[in-house]
């Protein structure tokens, strides 16, 4: 499956996945997935654990061979090991993938040498992930967050055009997470393509141009976070200070789907927030009322739950697959 891009290929595609399937025993890990990621795009891959994200990413990276279908990165096949393509890719490893008994700087220097990258790139990359002051600490003594940042630096040190990041913020504290977001936005601004696997929906919403949600080995939906939230049927929430209305009164307002008490607020779930807001205004006034519109997380939970239900019903089809780009 050496790459000759099929006709109609847009030259701007960084990643092209065409009808890729992979089966392990009797489990279909990836089921006929096709997608295209443009150059310079920040692309999120979301999905429940075991949905096939990692397998799909490893097939894209050329680490695994697809049973059928093909992958092209910049028009070239990554499988079998393609050493002309590899310098253009950056792959984040798990944060134990360090050369033992090396300092952070020595480790990154070794990784840089594998790619033929310069010494100045090592210092600059270490600095960009905020590890300059820890450069002489042995990797075994770094904290979880520092190790994770070093793993990210290992994927970036050779200035790759296409970067695969797998849950890069999992072990980071909120400050480090935001700092990394800035690093990633900087990479995007430089025109690099990023494929981002994450469970943090807020992160996908804040960073990604487009996301794909994978359920049971296939892509349920591909779109921008904004469009997904817009098109979703996930409810918005109105939060009223307790004591303003009782639960029966609130439930009686037309358009309110559900009423709960959470964290000191009376929470009204609705899909017609304008109408409900004016009703609340008439009843008690809007002082202290907070509104939360549906987030990507709501959309995601709603979608994955509906798909799981659809798959349990024989013959049931997920309506959202029509949205597939």
């Amino acid at each position: 499956m050496r790459a000759t891009p099929p006709e109609g290929t847009t030259p701007s595609a960084a990643v092209q996945v065409m009808g890729v399937s992979k089966r392990y025993g009797d489990r279909q890990a990836v089921d006929d997935v096709s997608l295209e990621i443009r150059r310079g795009e920040f692309f999120g891959l979301l999905g429940p654990n075991g949905a096939g994200k990692s397998t799909l990413v490893e097939i894209m990276e050329g680490l695994r061979r697809a049973d059928s279908g093909s992958v092209a990165l910049f028009g070239e096949s990554p499988w079998p090991r393609n050493t002309t393509l590899l310098p253009r890719l950056g792959v984040q490893t798990q944060s134990s993938a360090f050369f033992v008994r090396q300092t952070a700087h020595e480790h990154l220097r070794t990784v840089a040498a594998l790619f033929g990258a310069s010494r100045t790139a090592v210092d600059a990359t270490l600095d960009s992930v905020g590890l300059t002051e820890h450069r002489d600490i042995q990797v075994e003594s770094l904290s979880g967050g520092q190790r994770q940042r070093l793993a990210i630096a290992s994927a970036l040190v050779h200035g790759p055009e296409l970067i695969f990041l797998d849950e890069p913020t999992a072990a980071l504290d909120p400050q480090a997470r935001r700092a990394l977001w800035e690093v990633l936005r900087g990479l995007k601004a430089e025109g690099r393509t990023i494929v981002y696997t994450t469970h943090h929906l807020d992160e996908a919403e804040a960073l990604c141009d487009r996301i794909a949600i994978i359920v049971d080995g296939s892509i349920a939906v591909t779109d921008s976070p904004h469009n997904l939230v817009d098109a979703s049927e996930a409810p918005s929430r109105l939060m009223l200070p307790l004591g303003r209305l009782d639960e029966q009164q609130a439930a009686a307002i037309p358009g309110v789907d559900r009423v709960t008490v959470q964290g000191g607020s009376l929470v009204l779930e609705t899909r017609t927030s304008g109408r409900v807001l004016s009703a609340v205004d008439r009843l008690t006034g809007l002082d202290g009322v907070q509104t939360r519109s549906a987030s990507l997380e709501d959309v995601y939970l709603d979608l994955t739950a509906r798909l799981a239900r659809a798959r349990q019903t024989p013959g049931g089809h997920a309506e959202t697959t029509e949205q597939q780009a």
């Binding site: 695994r64 061979r65 590899l86 792959v91 490893t93 033992v100 008994r101 040498a113 594998l114």
Partner: protein, 251 residues
């Protein structure tokens, strides 16, 4: 800096910073030298008329060097695969030859230091080893021996997924070989069919060649045949090693 140089430098730093492993790598053959030396001090081996030390020194040295070569790379490859370091290298353009080559360079240095230390101690009056005039032959012999056993280690390191299985497989191969190919135990004292069995063991060839080079036992044909035998094993093991090498746990 090339991938080979960088991996060798990182491997060197990792090795010297692990003092315990470093110490025992060099102390292990010496331990056997001391134990056997004390047990058989002053005794001659029947028939040959050579002192026991000249018998045992060559055998223990070749076993110690072979053992370090096998275990060193087998553990490293298993650990690198478990820790995804091989995956990291796999995703870089660095060739496999840079990975194996860097470990080979380190194994040669370990073998050299082991040999110098071992011969130095064996020459102390307590043991009284007198190196034969052909001792410089040890250099090509040991290089070939390390090559062969390193390639055996590459194969073990590709199959084993845990430190326990590396130790189990490597010991399973190396310990019987130590007894059956004359490292710990004079070949002359074994039944002739066992002596024939030893011909399929690479350690037998290393032993014979080291014996002649270091202690003058046998004749120079032992060195020639020993080197030829090791070269054949190196080719076969090398071919298997290339076919069985795995970058990641699954593919």
């Amino acid at each position: 800096m090339s991938a080979y140089t960088a991996l060798t430098a990182a491997g060197y730093r990792a090795q010297v910073r692990d003092r315990t492993t470093l110490f025992f790598t060099f102390a292990f053959p010496l331990l056997f030298l001391v134990v056997f030396g004390l047990i058989f001090r002053g005794q001659d081996v029947e028939q040959s008329g050579l002192s026991y030390i000249s018998y045992t020194a060559a055998g223990v040295l070749s076993w110690g060097v072979a053992n370090a070569a096998v275990f060193g790379i087998a553990f490293t490859l298993m650990q690198w695969r478990t820790d995804d370091i091989l995956r990291l290298i796999r995703m870089s353009p660095a060739p496999l030859s840079a990975v194996i080559g860097s470990r080979y360079a380190l194994a040669l240095v370990v073998g050299l230091v082991q040999s110098l230390l071992f011969v130095g101690v064996a020459m102390l009056p307590l043991f009284g080893l007198e190196p034969a005039s052909g001792w410089p032959l040890l250099i090509p012999v040991m290089t070939l021996g390390i090559t062969t056993f390193l390639l055996l280690g590459v194969i073990i390191g590709s199959f084993a997924n845990t430190p326990e299985s590396v130790a189990a497989v490597a010991n399973f191969l190396m310990l019987p070989m130590a007894f059956l190919s004359g490292s710990f135990f004079p070949m002359d004292a074994m039944p002739s069919w066992l002596q024939k069995v030893s011909l399929v063991m690479p350690l037998r060839y290393l032993n014979d060649a080291v014996s002649h080079a270091l202690t003058g036992r046998g004749d120079s044909s032992d060195v020639v045949i020993g080197c030829a035998g090791l070269a054949v094993f190196a080719l076969v093991l090398g071919a298997v090693a290339i076919r069985t090498f795995r970058w990641t746990k699954a593919s």
